[in-house]
Symmetry: D2
Subunit: 318 residues, 4 copies
C-alpha cells in the first residue's frame, strides 16, 4: 500500500503575482539599485510604497528582521492623520473592493484563500454590515492577517473587535499589519530567516492491539466551516500512514495554521478489515473523526492516535 | 445544573393501534375466551390469524416463550406452498403497499420508524427495484425485522441478501419473522418475560484532569444516515451527565438497537469553560464527536469517555 | 476459571473483646438498664467511663449520631485540666504501654492492626523518641485514629503534627478522638446508621483489544510499607475478575481505607497467554503493577484498567 | 531543572583487554601484516585462532560482514569432531572456569556483566548442575550470547534448551556463536557497518492535563532480577525529561537489550508538586512504576507515558 500524494493545505508559497519565480536574497537586495529594491518590496505595505522607499538609503540590513523593523519604525513614527491614511489604504475584508476587482494583488491572493470573494448574498450582506459598522465606529477599515484565519474565525474576530475601544483597535490594526507585512517579506525574499511565521499539524497512529505503528491507514483532514457544525466533506489534505505510522509529510507545514476548528478522519475500519481483525459491516470503529480546535497559528499541533478495533485515544502531543 | 429531560430514541412502546392501553397478562390470556384471545393476538402473524387460532386449544401456556414456540411450530410444519403464502402476506419494505396505505397496522408502525413511507422519488425507485428483483428471484417478498435496523442497514442488508441462494433466504425470512413476532408478542402481553429482545446504549464521562466524574456535561446522540457520511444534526437523544458522570437513563433502552452508525457528541469545551479550565474561543477540544457502529441490536453498548482539556479516550465497555 | 476467595483486608468487624457477638440495637440501649448500657458503652472513651455514664439519663436517643453528639458535648464542656486528664488516658502509639500489656482492649486491637506492637528495636526507639518529644512539647500523648492509617502514614503524620502549635494539636487530638469513638460506637451497636465511616477500593478490567471485560484475570493488592519503596509481597487481598471484569467484591470495603501507598498487580501476561494472544516467555506486559496513594480514608477509590497485550491505561474513577 | 547525567546501562564499549583503545578500520586490517591482523582478531573465536588465520589470505574483504561470513564458512565446513572441539573450547556459563580464572578475556568481560562470576553458593550449585547435565546430554558446553541476556533469562533459556534434541542444540550453539563473534568483530573494528547488533529503549512523557510535554520529570530504569518479583532498587539508568518530554539520550542504546523484565519509575508526584497541581502527602500518583518485558534484543522499545495527576497510560510505541 502506498501513500496517496498529500494534497497541500494551500498552494505552495506562490511567486508574487506578475513577478519572476526566483526570489532575491537579502544580500542581493542590499546591493540592488533603488529601482530593483522597490520593484521587489514596494507592495509589502498596502498602497504605501513610500515605506520601502524610506528604507532604500538605510541599507544594508543585517537581517530581514532588521529590514522589517526599519519599515515598522517609519510607520510608527507617522502622525496620526497619516497613519490613518495608511490604514485606510487597506481593503475591506470581503468588501466591495474585493468583489469589484479593485484590490492590491497580495490582498486578492490572501482573501481568496478564504473564498471571501465568493460569498453568497446573505453572507456578503453580513460582511458589508460589519465593514460599515467598523468604519463608522473607528474611522478606518478592519484589518486582519487573513492567512492566520479561517472564514469563521475571521468573522468571530471581526465581531469581537467591533466591541473594542478605538485605542485598542488602533493597536490591533498595527499588530495585524505587522503580521501581514512579515509574511509578505517572507514571500519576497529567499532564505529570509524570519521565525515564528508558520505552524505545523501532524499525526501518528499506533496500533496498540498489535504493539506497532499502524501502517497503510488512510486519513484526511477537514475544516469545519461553522463553529458548531459538521466538517466540510472536501478534505484539506489526505494521506496514508507509512511503516512508522506517520504521514509522509506533516498535514500542514510552512504556513500559519488558520485559527478555527478541524476534523481528522481515520479509516480504522478499513485498516483492521485489511488485517482480518474486523469483518462486520458495522464495526464498532470505522471512520473515526477527531475534532479539534487550533488557536495558535504559529504552533506545532501533533494529534496522535492510539487504536484497537474497540478503543481509541488521542491528545495534543508534540 | 440539572439534566435536560432525555429525549427518547423512539416513542415508548405504544399501545396497539385501535386497542385499549392496558395489556393482558399471560395468565389472563390463558383463561380468556377464544374471541378475546384472538382479539389480542390475531395480528401477531401478518395476515395469518390462523396461527393464533391454532394455539387457542393448546392453552394454558407456561410462558410467553412457550406460546411463541407453539406458534412457530404451526408455521414450521406448513407444506412449502402454504409457507410461501404466509411469507407473501408480508408487505414489501418501502413498497407500494406502504405508500398506498394497504399495510397491516403493525407494519405501518414498524416501517414508519425508519421513515420508509417518506422516501424521495429516487430512493423509492431504488427500493422498488430491490423489491421487484427479490420477488423475481425468490418468489416471496423480502422480510426484515425493521425494528433492528436503521434505513441504511436495512438497505445494505437487502442488497446482500439478494445475493443468497433460495434456501438460505427461506431460512432468513423465517428467522426475521421469528424476531418480528416475538417483538409483537412483547408489545401485546404485560410482564411478558421474553429476554434477548432489547439492547442498551449508555455512556459515562470521567474527568481525568481532576480525578472525578464529569458532571453537568451536555451530550447528544445522532444517527448517521449514510455509512460514510456526517451524522444527522437532529439528535436521537440529549442528556446532561449527573454527579456520577452518567446520564440519568441509558441513551437507548428497552428496544432493539438499530444496526447502523451513530455519533455521540460531548460538549467538552463548555464543560471546561464552566470550570474555568479553558478560555479560548477555539479550545483544542470543544464539541467532541465519537462515532461508532452497532451491529448487535440486543447487546449492551457502553461507550465511556475519559477527558482532559487536551485529551480524550474511549472504548467499548460494559 | 473461578474466583479465588477474597482475602479480607482485615478481619471482619470483630466482636468486642470479652463480649458476646450479638450487638444491641440503639432502641435496646435506649431501654436497657443503666448497668447494661454501661456494660456496652463504658469503654468507648478510653479510660473515661463517666462519658457514657453522663448519657444514661439523657436517653432515649434518636440516632447513634445523637448519642455520639451527646458524648462529645460532655467532653467539650470539660475545663482544660480535666480535658487534659482525659487525653492523658490514651496510650502512646507503639509505646511502652503497648509493649508491656497495659493498654485498653480496644487500643490493643487497633494498634495491633498496624503491628505497632511488633516493632524492631530501631523503630521502637524512633516511636519512643517521638512520643517523648510530643508529650514534652504538648503535655498530653499523641492521639491518632489508627484505623485510618498505615504504619508509614501514622509515622509521617506524627512527625508533621509535632511541628504544630499547642492549640492546633489540642483540636487535632479532639478530632481524632471523635473519629475513634464514632468507629467504636459503630463496633458496639447493631444497625448503627453512622455514615462517612468507611471507604471502598475496587477495580475493573476491560480488554480493549477485544472490546469486552477481561474475565478470569488474577490480581492482588499490596501495601507499600515505605513511602518510596517496593510493595509488601504478601497481598492484602487477591481476586479473579468475573465475566464483567470486576472482582466478586470490592478489594476493601466497610472499613476506613488506611492512608498510604498501595500497589495493585494485574497478571495480564497469564490472561493473554490463556487466550493464545501472547506466547513469549517475556511478554511486553506480564505482571503489571499499578501503584497509587490513598489519602481519603472514607472515599471510594475505583482504579479501573484497560488493557491490550501492548498497552494499558488507568485512572481514578468512581 | 537540568538532567542528571545518564548512568549508562553498561560501560561504554570497552577497548579490548590489553589492547590500545584506537581500533583499526577494515581497510587497515585488509592491508595489515598477518601478525597485526591476528593480533586484532585471533580471539574472536574462543580458543580458535585458526579461524582468523584462515582468513588472512582471503583478504581484502569488502565489508566486516564479508569477513564474518568467511570466518563462519570455515567453521561450518568443519567435520563434526572438529566442530565439537571448537564448541568444547567455550567455557561453561557461570562454571568452574569462570570462578577459577581460567577463561578467555572476552568471556570474562561478557559473563561478568551478568555477575555470573559472583553467584552465591546455592545459585552456583544450580548452574553447575545445569552445566553438568547439558554436557552429559549433548557432549559439548551450553553456549549463549550472554550480551543479549539478563541472568534470569539466561537461566530460563538454559533450562528450556536442555529439553531440546541434539541436532537442534548443535544448531542453537552455532547460532549463538554467530551472534557472539559478530559482536566481538564490532568491538574490534572501527566503523564496522554491521547492522542488527543493538537495540534501543526510550521513553517520552506527555502531560495531557496541560497538553504539553512533561519537562523536568525524574525517572529511572530498573532490572527485575526475578521473573515475578520486585525490581532491583539500583537503577540501570536515571534521567530527567527535557522540554520535549524526552530523555537527553535513549535509556539504552548501542548494545543488545538484555532479554528480561524491566521497570521504569516515573516520579509523577514530584512533577505535579513542583507545578502546584498536587499537594497531598499521598497523591494518587506518586512514583509510578511501568513494568515491561523485552524479548527482542535488537529491537526498538519506545515506552511513552501520558499523565495527569489522576491517570496514566502507556504502550509499546516506536
Amino acid at each position: 500500500m502506498t501513500a496517496a500524494p498529500l494534497v497541500p493545505h494551500e498552494p505552495a508559497r506562490a511567486a508574487e503575482p506578475g513577478q519572476a519565480t526566483s526570489l532575491p536574497t537579502l544580500s542581493q537586495l542590499n546591493t540592488a539599485s533603488a529601482a530593483d529594491f522597490m520593484a521587489r518590496l514596494a507592495t509589502v505595505w498596502e498602497h504605501a510604497p513610500w515605506v520601502a522607499q524610506a528604507c532604500v538609503a538605510q541599507r544594508p540590513f543585517d537581517s530581514v528582521d532588521a529590514l522589517h523593523r526599519a519599515m515598522l519604525g517609519h510607520v510608527r513614527s507617522l502622525p496620526e492623520p497619516e497613519l490613518l491614511a495608511l490604514l485606510a489604504g487597506h481593503p475591506d475584508l470581503a468588501g466591495a473592493a474585493a468583489r469589484s476587482g479593485h484590490m492590491a494583488p497580495d490582498s486578492v491572493a490572501e482573501q481568496s484563500a478564504l473564498s471571501l470573494d465568493q460569498l453568497d448574498a446573505d453572507d456578503a450582506a453580513r460582511w458589508d454590515h460589519l465593514n460599515t459598522a467598523y468604519r463608522a465606529r473607528f474611522g478606518f477599515p478592519f484589518i486582519l492577517c487573513v492567512k492566520r484565519h479561517s472564514r469563521i474565525s475571521a468573522l468571530r474576530c471581526f465581531e469581537a473587535r467591533l466591541q473594542n475601544d478605538r485605542s485598542s483597535e488602533l493597536q490591533a490594526a498595527l499588530d495585524e499589519i505587522t503580521r501581514i507585512t512579515r509574511l509578505r517579506l517572507a514571500d519576497r525574499i529567499a532564505n529570509h530567516g524570519l521565525s515564528g511565521l508558520s505552524g505545523r499539524l501532524s499525526t501518528h497512529v499506533l496500533d496498540v492491539s498489535r504493539g506497532r505503528p499502524a501502517a497503510g491507514l488512510h486519513l484526511s483532514l477537514h475544516e469545519c466551516p461553522r463553529a458548531d457544525g459538521p466538517a466540510d466533506e472536501r478534505p484539506l489534505a489526505r494521506a496514508v500512514t507509512d511503516a512508522q505510522g506517520q504521514t509522509p509529510a506533516p498535514l500542514i507545514d510552512g504556513v500559519p495554521l488558520r485559527i478555527g476548528r478541524y476534523e481528522l478522519r481515520f479509516r480504522i475500519g478499513d485498516y483492521y478489515r485489511d488485517l482480518g481483525q474486523v469483518s462486520s459491516d458495522w464495526p464498532f470503529l470505522d471512520v473515526v473523526p477527531v475534532a479539534f480546535g487550533i488557536d495558535e497559528p504559529e504552533a506545532d499541533y501533533h494529534v496522535p492516535l492510539t487504536i484497537t478495533p474497540w478503543a481509541f485515544s488521542t491528545y495534543r502531543g508534540q
